[in-house]
Symmetry: C2
Subunit: 355 residues, 2 copies
């Protein structure tokens, strides 16, 4: 099985009884309802004021070099938390290398990016502001300088971080991270089902849930976020749960969708064992996050399920199996919190001169 390649994970999971349970009885221990409060790092506590500031920054195009792109442009939290594109185009007009992942429930991840190269959400945000395929800012100083020209930001940073001079690059990332950690979607039908409401999901989804376990999907897509270990539960922050994709090479899917063109985590570590290794993504809200996979090459969920079964488990699913599994995946759409729009601070009677 896949997990054998990760002896430490295998031991952890076996010791918790989860893996055995998945394959023996489809027991519920493998899945758990999404908690309403995600793990919070000690050095970046949540406060309503910090989340409000982070939300402003998240929606503010002035955080990008050209003033045309905000975090929300590619991670649209009014929708599935991404942009429905194979790859996004950043502020400088350059396409990204990989598909923008959803931001919903990323607070439950132990590492960030498809290849896990950031060990915290804050670290990922610090990268993204300077990435030429994302916000495209030239350096940290240009980010803080730009925001310092906007009195409303200057004031808020000092209040939120209880100190004058708090408008720093690190604090910008911290505030945005706090906002993103509010983006959780509990109360999916499957969560209600796990909590004991046997009518919460339809019969097809129950069959699909069974198939999901029997076929082997749940070997990787398990626990609260259907993405394996979460922070503080088996794994610590920075410790990634990776899988090989494709695991079985040589299928027509592999060439059709260029699945092996990107070597994944190998590009971070340059260790051969990490070739084509990828962080296991969450399946929560997966019906809202097409197109699929690291390169966004597969447009529909139907096809994505077939591709996964073939390339990861060497199985060809029947039409009924696919439709049942999709019925199950449909029950993973949670309740999106009602969010107020932020009000963005301006420079009274003046404006930033953007390119």
């Amino acid at each position: 099985m896949l997990l054998r390649r990760f002896s430490h994970i295998f031991i952890i999971i076996s010791s918790l009884g989860a893996c055995a349970a998945i394959h023996q009885a489809g027991a519920f221990e493998a899945f758990m309802p999404l908690p309403r409060k995600p793990p919070i790092p000690e050095d970046n506590l949540m406060t309503p004021a910090k989340a409000a500031l982070g939300k402003q920054l998240f929606f503010d195009v002035r955080l990008s070099r050209t003033g045309t792109v905000s975090c929300n442009s590619c991670h649209n939290v009014m929708a599935g938390g991404e942009d429905g594109r194979a790859v996004s185009v950043g502020a400088l007009g350059k396409p990204g290398r990989r598909s923008a992942p959803t931001l919903w429930n990323v607070a439950y991840q132990t590492v960030y990016y498809w290849d896990g190269r950031a060990s915290s959400l804050e670290a990922a945000i610090r990268d993204q502001m300077l990435s030429p395929t994302e916000m495209g800012m030239s350096d940290e100083a240009s980010v803080t300088q730009r925001l310092s020209w906007i009195p409303g930001y200057q004031d808020q940073f000092d209040k939120v971080f209880h100190n004058s001079g708090s408008l720093t690059y690190d604090n910008i990332a911290k505030a945005i991270a706090v906002y993103i950690r509010t983006l959780v979607t509990p109360d999916s039908p499957f969560d209600h089902y796990l909590e004991g409401d046997k009518q919460a999901i339809p019969a097809a989804a129950k069959r699909g849930h069974h198939e999901f376990i029997e076929v082997g999907c749940a070997s990787c897509h398990f626990w609260v976020n259907l993405s394996g270990p979460v922070p503080g539960l088996a794994f610590q922050m920075g410790e990634g749960f990776y899988e090989l994709f494709p695991n079985f090479v040589g299928s027509t899917y592999e060439s059709q969708y260029k699945l092996s063109d990107d070597l994944g985590r190998y590009l971070v570590t340059r260790e051969d064992i990490h070739k084509r290794m990828w962080r296991v993504p969450s399946l929560r809200n997966v019906v809202l996050t097409a197109p699929y996979f690291h390169n966004g090459s597969v447009r529909t969920l139907d096809e994505a399920v077939r591709v996964m079964a073939k390339t990861e488990l060497d199985k060809e699913l029947t039409g009924r199996q696919v439709s049942d599994i999709i019925a199950f995946l449909n029950t993973l759409t949670g309740k999106f919190p009602a969010q107020y729009m932020p009000r963005l601070p301006e420079i009274p009677g003046d404006t930033l001169q953007l390119p």
Copy 2:
């Protein structure tokens, strides 16, 4: 005086006693608090469901050819209702000819665009979806077809317009217009002052208000929206209140800011009398809408006040006059309604294929 050039307006205003009042005593009849409910056209009534649908469309980048621009990109209602740029860049990467005006309180306009070429908000929206410098859609059918692929939109149009087959181009514009008519900002300090709270604005603003009248600004910037007649009050929809800008030609401002390069309403009517004629814009929230004028050429409000005094009234203001007038303009910032973000409908397990 300026108004003499518009005998019909002059008569209307004189008959209402407003113009005389402005020049004689600075009486309050020239200004009125912003009503909470704007005029509503009979053929597009407001309903909460229609406004909610319009809000979704307003924030949906899928309404632009490339899927990169929404109405909110250039008319940012999380801020001053525009984008802080001289001119915006549309979905196709082409810059617009004129500066994107704020959408706050546009429900009180009788015509739309800087040159008044649209006689209703709905007409302006219908234009903008197809404009190559705005949303850039190729034709009406491509707009309705794209939305029809999104089940959540199809369903909502039928419910909101009480008919199957209601996802039409006209109804898209109607829904967006209804949302935009919710964008009103009453309760500015100046409104409270007009309502009798004499402490609602500071002394400098009171002096500025007096200067605003004495210098002559109020000859055009009067009534509820400080933009002249509003629908149903002296003017009907489609009847524009235009002024010459610059009125006094030959100033250094004119050349420095290229104020006469664009012939304004003349480009619509090709009548010589309309050369350099422009719709009088509202001054509500004006401290939030830099840069200024039809070409966005003037970055600061301070400079904009000096330019207006010189080019419209042939007056050079003292520093004190400018700062007092700006203190007054600062009291025109209203209360922005708290708005929930929309949830944008998706195609379950699929995505639009955008360029």
